[in-house]
Amino acid sequence: MRVKKMIGIIVAAHGEMSKGLIETSRMIVGHAENMTTVDLLEGEGPESLRDKLKKAVESLDSGEGVIVLLDLYGGTPSNVSALLVRELNIEVVSGVNLPMLLEIIVKRASKNLKELRQVAMYAGKEGIRSVNEIVEKIESEIKEGP
């Protein structure tokens, strides 16, 4: 795979989640380059995981580094990543969700790898809203009048 000079994105999650998130992101913002999945299998050992992750990072690293978006903090994938942060040019953020992934996709061309850490964490949280609260707020603003 010819790698363009841009920060790579890895979505590492259990089951179908990685593929699912990436497919959905493609529906929303179109195809994104230098992006791949690492699928975490049930009960997968740390050695095999380390190998998979390392290979994925190396396949995407064009010199700008790679951001790894994990589903969960703690557990084997998270621990394996922690050991790799000193070895590879990666930023690892857990709790991947669609808002996080979308924002990373559109911002990676204009930020460096370390800055993407904050982008990921902020966007992931920003996307979590209560629609009910918003409706209630609008209704109470209408009641109060101009």
Binding site: I28, V29, G30, E103, I105, V106, K107, S110
Partner: protein
């Protein structure tokens, strides 16, 4: 100081999907290339042009008018680039 250097321009979205999907991603990516603070406004609702979540929440459709506002040292360049992008229908049609 802030308002003195704000530049804005209103454009109409004439591409099929408006500010959604790939055009939205192109718009946000382009906005992120500038230092200025950039906002997009539609019917009184203003969002950060550098955030895909913000732009998508605007729900700007085909034929909608939006106002692009930029504030900062490269505000003129930003407005020009983003207006061109919209007027060229994001190079898609």
């Amino acid at each position: 100081m802030k308002h003195l250097s704000e530049i804005k321009q209103t454009v109409r979205l004439l591409n099929k999907v408006g500010l959604h999907a790939r055009p939205a991603a192109m718009f946000v990516q382009a906005a992120n290339g500038f230092k200025s603070e950039i906002k997009v406004e539609k019917k009184g609702k203003e969002v950060d042009a550098k955030s895909i979540l913000g732009i998508l929440s605007l729900a700007a459709e085909y034929n909608d008018e939006v106002t692009i506002k930029a504030n900062g040292e490269d505000a003129e360049d930003a407005i020009r680039k983003l207006v061109d992008l919209v007027n060229s229908k994001f190079g898609e049609e």
